[in-house]
């Protein structure tokens, strides 16, 4: 029974709870939030719900969290990086290179404390997830298999309906919001004649001894296929790998789901003439036939059709009978299917409309960029199954990506159901450049979920202050105000991370000459991941903006755009190379002067001008001016950014001569260009 199982986790039930329990026996227990699956995504959401003090429960089929990792990957090596050393102390920055940890406030719950391996063992992940759930006291109901999910319309409900979950014992759970974090659990099968002869990745032997001296055919070209090949490469006669499309190397596509270098041993042996090989063909056009010796032959399906259903390989014509150099003329001892995974739609009632007209066929459920199902309000897909949002683009299908999207979903719901606006820091405009520099240098969510989650800066009236929102799902930008509860009336900046437009692709040469851009004026041609800042005078909400959004642009066309030039060290703090061009961009967007000034300069401005630059207004005039030290003062004079007014003392000069000197007053510091050029500048923007 769900409730009694959960009770010990709450601690000793009080009297009040005991009373509340009684009627619960007749009415199904109702939760605000239900999470299906205690994998990484489910636990991550449970963590945020717990921290926010929400009413929630996680339902897990297995007795412990992360059951997927108890079996998969079959060869036990995770290909997510566990980088324990970066040379930096910044914990947020270090998450950029930690692909396994979940987000929490507890530094002990970092994966680096669980494994020393750069590519860790899957058992460590199981152990980690178990600790995560236990240490944080997450409310997980283990051994609870939700067998059926359906809708119950109710006007009182948050979303106009409740989700009714029925477990294996027939116990019913009522949920206002349902998070589905069940991952992809159904092996993908392609139907073709003879497909039954193929062994699945999920069940094939992982003992290389079972493959000694065999001819092996592997169907598929993903990491599981290569991982399987890698394991038996040394003992087979040869391995042929067959799939529809060309191999996609992750270091060329910049997509971590494509073939990782750690698994690509077969590419090496293929190209170095060691009998292994890759072949491209659509599986649905093929057939596998078994001969009398139990060996497998591959043939195009139409050969079979000509032979009229007679399925024996010995009796029908095979391609090599006509075409004696047909590539796959050798019989195979084994055929292994490694074709990936699909979402398990089976438990969801049709009324949830979870799978209507899906672009990804049966692999992923159809969702919005807010991770909410297009079919039912209040139903959210989290984790690997939510990858349709950024499939083959970003990291949303992996722990190091979805840990952030889960947080974003949680923030959206905090606003939707609890009137908690999206967290934001309000700062004076003088901190604008710094706050952007800080985030692009340390933020891990931006870095991992590039192109999907972006920071948003909402300007206040007259651009004297701003609110900084972190990691908003940018495809939902048009609905920002309703989703976050914040106002974007006075313009906004979006801070996104991007690779160069033409840099990524399976056929791209990512090592071409001149791929690196070093000049600030060429920053827009940067290839490696770099920060891009979009400025919108108004929140792009209309159809029009979306329609005019250029192809391959992650966002609608901005009023102005800035690229911070790519950096080899991903350290964007160079004063001239990174910060100065950024400041100029921000200044020109806001039409103001964002320079910082010493108190002495502010003093001069205060007495010789009617207006002061923001830095003096917000600092000096509030008695928080920046006083220069002697050595900095000397540099200031040398740099000619300020005139040396000292008649004597600091410098031995004749004072009367100084006073007679009619040089224009502190000219390098004077406010901006003439009105004329400012106007022309505006037009450009």
């Amino acid at each position: 029974m769900g409730l009694s199982a959960a009770a010990p986790l709450w601690g000793p039930p009080g009297l009040l709870l005991a009373i509340a329990l009684h009627p619960a026996l007749s009415v199904p227990p109702r939760r605000d939030y239900c999470v299906l699956g205690a994998g990484p995504a489910g636990l991550q959401m449970a963590y945020f719900l717990q921290r926010a003090g929400r009413d929630y429960a996680v339902f897990e089929r297995a007795p412990r969290p992360g059951s997927f990792f108890t079996r998969y990957p079959r060869h036990r090596k995770l290909i997510s990086i566990n980088k324990r050393y970066t040379g930096k102390a910044n914990a947020e920055f270090n998450l950029r290179h930690d692909w396994n940890s979940l987000l929490s406030h507890d530094p002990r719950l970092l994966f680096r404390h669980y494994s020393r391996a750069y590519f860790p063992d899957a058992r460590d992940m199981v152990r980690y997830l178990g600790d995560f759930a236990d240490t944080l006291g997450l409310r997980v109901q283990y051994n609870t298999t939700i067998a059926h999910v359906t809708l119950d319309k109710d006007r009182q409900a948050w979303n106009g309906h409740y989700f009714i979950l029925t477990d294996q014992k027939g116990q019913v759970h009522q949920c206002s919001v349902l998070f589905v974090a069940t991952g992809l659990s159904v092996p993908n099968q392609v139907d073709f004649p003879g497909s039954e002869y193929a062994e699945g990745y999920e069940s094939v032997s992982v003992d290389p001894e079972d493959f000694v001296g065999q001819n092996v055919l592997i169907l598929g070209r993903g990491n599981s296929a290569f991982e399987t090949a890698e394991n038996i490469l040394g003992v087979t006669n040869f391995i042929h790998m067959l799939s529809r499309s060309r191999v996609r190397l992750s270091w060329a596509t910049h997509y971590v789901g494509d073939l990782r270098a750690i698994n690509n041993g077969l590419l090496d042996t293929y190209q170095l003439k060691s009998l292994d090989g890759l072949l491209e063909s659509d599986l649905t056009d093929l057939a596998i036939l078994k001969d009398s010796k139990g060996k497998f032959h591959v043939t195009p399906k139409f050969f079979l059709e000509e032979a009229n259903t007679n399925q024996s390989a010995d009796s029908i014509t095979l391609p090599q009978d006509d075409n004696d150099n047909f590539a796959m003329r050798v019989p195979y001892d084994r055929v292994i299917r490694c074709l990936g995974w699909n979402f398990d739609f089976s438990i969801f009632n049709k009324s949830l409309r979870l799978n209507s007209g899906n672009a990804f066929g049966k692999k992923y459920p159809l969702i919005r960029a807010s991770y909410e199902s297009k079919g039912s309000r209040g139903l959210f897909i989290l984790g690997t199954a939510s990858h349709s949002v950024d499939y083959r683009k970003s990291a949303g299908g992996f722990i190091h990506g979805f840990r952030y999207t889960v947080r974003a979903v949680h923030r959206l719901l905090e606003h939707r159901h609890h009137s908690v606006t999206w967290p934001a820091t309000e700062l004076p405009i003088t901190q604008l450049t710094s706050s952007i520099v800080r985030r692009v240098n340390e933020a891990s969510g931006l870095y991992q979920m590039f192109g999907v989650l972006a920071d948003v800066i909402l300007l206040k009236e007259n651009s004297t202050a701003f609110e900084y929102l972190e990691e908003f799902p940018i495809q939902m930008l048009a609905q920002l105000e309703t989703l976050t509860g914040r106002k974007a009336k006075h313009g906004l900046f979006v801070i996104n991370m991007e690779y160069g437009r033409n840099f990524s692709g399976p056929d791209k040469d990512v090592f071409f000459d001149d791929r690196s851009v070093g000049h600030t004026e060429d920053a827009w041609q940067s290839n490696f991941l770099h920060p891009v800042i979009y400025y919108y005078r108004y929140l792009p909400t209309g159809e029009q903006e979306v329609r005019f959004r250029p192809a391959h642009w992650p966002l609608p066309r901005p009023t102005a755009i800035h690229h911070i030039v790519e950096d080899f060290l991903t350290d964007w703090t160079a004063p001239i190379g990174h910060i100065l061009p950024l400041r100029r961009f921000l200044e020109n967007c806001l039409d103001t002067d964002l320079r910082s000034f010493y108190a002495e300069s502010c003093f001069l401005f205060a007495l010789t001008r009617q207006k002061l630059p923001p830095f003096c207004q917000q600092g000096y005039l509030r008695m928080q001016g920046l006083v220069s030290t002697e050595s900095l003062w000397q540099h200031r004079v040398e740099s000619r950014l300020l005139r040396d007014y000292a008649p004597t003392g600091r410098r031995l000069e004749d004072s009367s001569q100084q006073l007679g000197d009619q040089e224009p007053l502190g000219s390098p510091l004077a406010p901006g260009p003439l009105a004329q050029s400012v106007d022309s500048n505006k037009e450009e923007l």
């Binding site: 340390e442 040398e638 740099s639």
Partner: protein, 823 residues
Amino acid sequence: MFSGFNVFRVGISFVIMCIFYMPTVNSLPELSPQKYFSTLQPGKASLAYFCQADSPRTSVFLEELNEAVRPLQDYGISVAKVNCVKEEISRYCGKEKDLMKAYLFKGNILLREFPTDTLFDVNAIVAHVLFALLFSEVKYITNLEDLQNIENALKGKANIIFSYVRAIGIPEHRAVMEAAFVYGTTYQFVLTTEIALLESIGSEDVEYAHLYFFHCKLVLDLTQQCRRTLMEQPLTTLNIHLFIKTMKAPLLTEVAEDPQQVSTVHLQLGLPLVFIVSQQATYEADRRTAEWVAWRLLGKAGVLLLLRDSLEVNIPQDANVVFKRAEEGVPVEFLVLHDVDLIISHVENNMHIEEIQEDEDNDMEGPDIDVQDDEVAETVFRDRKRKLPLELTVELTEETFNATVMASDSIVLFYAGWQAVSMAFLQSYIDVAVKLKGTSTMLLTRINCADWSDVCTKQNVTEFPIIKMYKKGENPVSYAGMLGTEDLLKFIQLISYPVNITSIQEAEEYLSGELYKDLILYSSVSVLGLFSPTMKTAKEDFSEAGNYLKGYVITGIYSEEDVLLLSTKYAASLPALLLARHTEGKIESIPLASTHAQDIVQIITDALLEMFPEITVENLPSYFRLQKPLLILFSDGTVNPQYKKAILTLVKQKYLDSFTPCWLNLKNTPVGRGILRAYFDPLPPLPLLVLVNLHSGGQVFAFPSDQAIIEENLVLWLKKLEAGLENHITILPAQEWKPPLPAYDFLSMIDAATSQRGTRKVPKCMKETDVQENDKEQHEDKSAVRKEPIETLRIKHWNRSNWFKEAEKSFRRDKELGCSKVN
């Protein structure tokens, strides 16, 4: 005669000054014939126009003649208008109006007579007069034979300057004549107006004036032709002068010093220098090449032979040519050029660019947007290599933060290593640590939020720099004062207040400043709250205010049973506040009946303001807040006590209630000079009393500097001001603070690239690579180089200073240059 360019220029400017100061000298003198002839001096040339009466026609000519007075005077030629009157009949006075002429005399010898129509304008007048005077220096010829004769005659002796002008009397002719006036004794000038002659020596574009330098002096073999150098600039006096100067310079100079340091006459004349890099082994061949280049570049650039072997500075190994622009401060460029033609074209192309750039500069006058214009960022960057005594402060980490601030009273500076303002303030912070070394119980610590982001976020630090004070059992206090050594020191020293005073004697010592002697330096005012023991809420309010002002002012509370003794002594009705001004030795009392904490804070802050303060960078904001016009007395040193007295009297008489009177000591606040410079032009002697209406209108009024700063005058002036009878001396600019410079417009760059992509599919980078490959092939096969079209020859070319920058920037992924930056 002017011997050099500089003298020449000085001469011109002198003339200009003469025009300005002595206009009479340059106006056309009108003389009678008799008088005129009496002025003629032996050997001096004089141009005289004889006329009978004014007519419209002659007055046009007279205007031109009037203009010619100044230039002719430069050449020592006087000009006069001679009025033919009936009484004096001269043979130069024509009989009819139309036949009036101008005559050129040398001494009293008539050289030429000019009908007025030949002297159609000032150029014609100058050209004709000089032409007549220089008839022996400037040979006028009409055919090739004449030219050849002159050429042959001068071979091995002198050089020739041959020029063609379309007609006598046009500006080009005048320019040639003016040059001949200066150089006529050094070179043989030859002039023609015959197009056929020009064509016969092989000139193109014969419509225009031409000037050649014939290098005949070098020619020893009479059968050999003199080398000719064509001047390519338009014929103006200045251009001819520059051209001749370069002809005079040595053809080729050998140097063995840093090209950056080398300077020749060419640079001074605005021409670039070309260094042909030579080494011992190839010296002869290099010298021949260099000479060949020098002849080709004569008049366009200076050519030098740079001896690499004896050079102390390093130049890139494969560079064979060094190019130095005439502009000062531009670094030299190291080039690899395998063909003389390439050198020539490089020079010519770059001269062209220079001109364009000059134009652009004139249009934009804008500094480079890649140059730092933030004074804080720039100074911090310049100071980055200086080592600070950081060890005087404790650096905190995530692990040590909590333990440290729990264990001892600590000041924490939250900063970001990459943020300029933070790093500027870190220096002041270290200065505080130096000053407090060994004297304070307060632990000075710092934490770099670039490393320990989470700690800073947990401490609610979202901007930098932030100072917080952590004290056991208390909430951390944020420092909100000036980010400077002095103010932070004061904060740290005064942080322990408010204090509880427990006896009358202690209270008296407190008020007299005896109790906290050391602190009077930091707080010139001590505040004491007086409460009877039962006044609980009043006490709480006062404590709250005291807490708020923590670190800014000394506050104390006295609330013993005998408090009445104090309240009667200082005539204060309880609850009350005593303000002890230590500098003035005054104690005032302010009643506090039902005053909220916020109002108490206001009362105390107002009390801290002085009546006639010395305004400084640090305290201006406190007075600025009052939103009143500032009445500032600028003083070079301490303010004169009499002035001070006068103003204080006015303050007491309430004349100055609507102003903030203050004075500024230029010795303490040198930036005050910058302020004065904005107010006055020219600057009257100090002291100066100025009224600045900062908050409405920005008008600046100056108290007349010829009046004494005494009460009566001041009152009168203020009355006039009030009545609007005084004129402001200036109005402060109300300009908004706009972006100092534009930003890169990446959006249009992206647009341009997208629109281009339609026409050419090849990505830019790919193309560059291809070209580079071509380049390599050509380098391998040098004989092929000349057969290839020039366009495909690629010149490796990089600017020296940029080279390091490039190398640094493009170190990333071991690449040499940015994709679009391959020149």
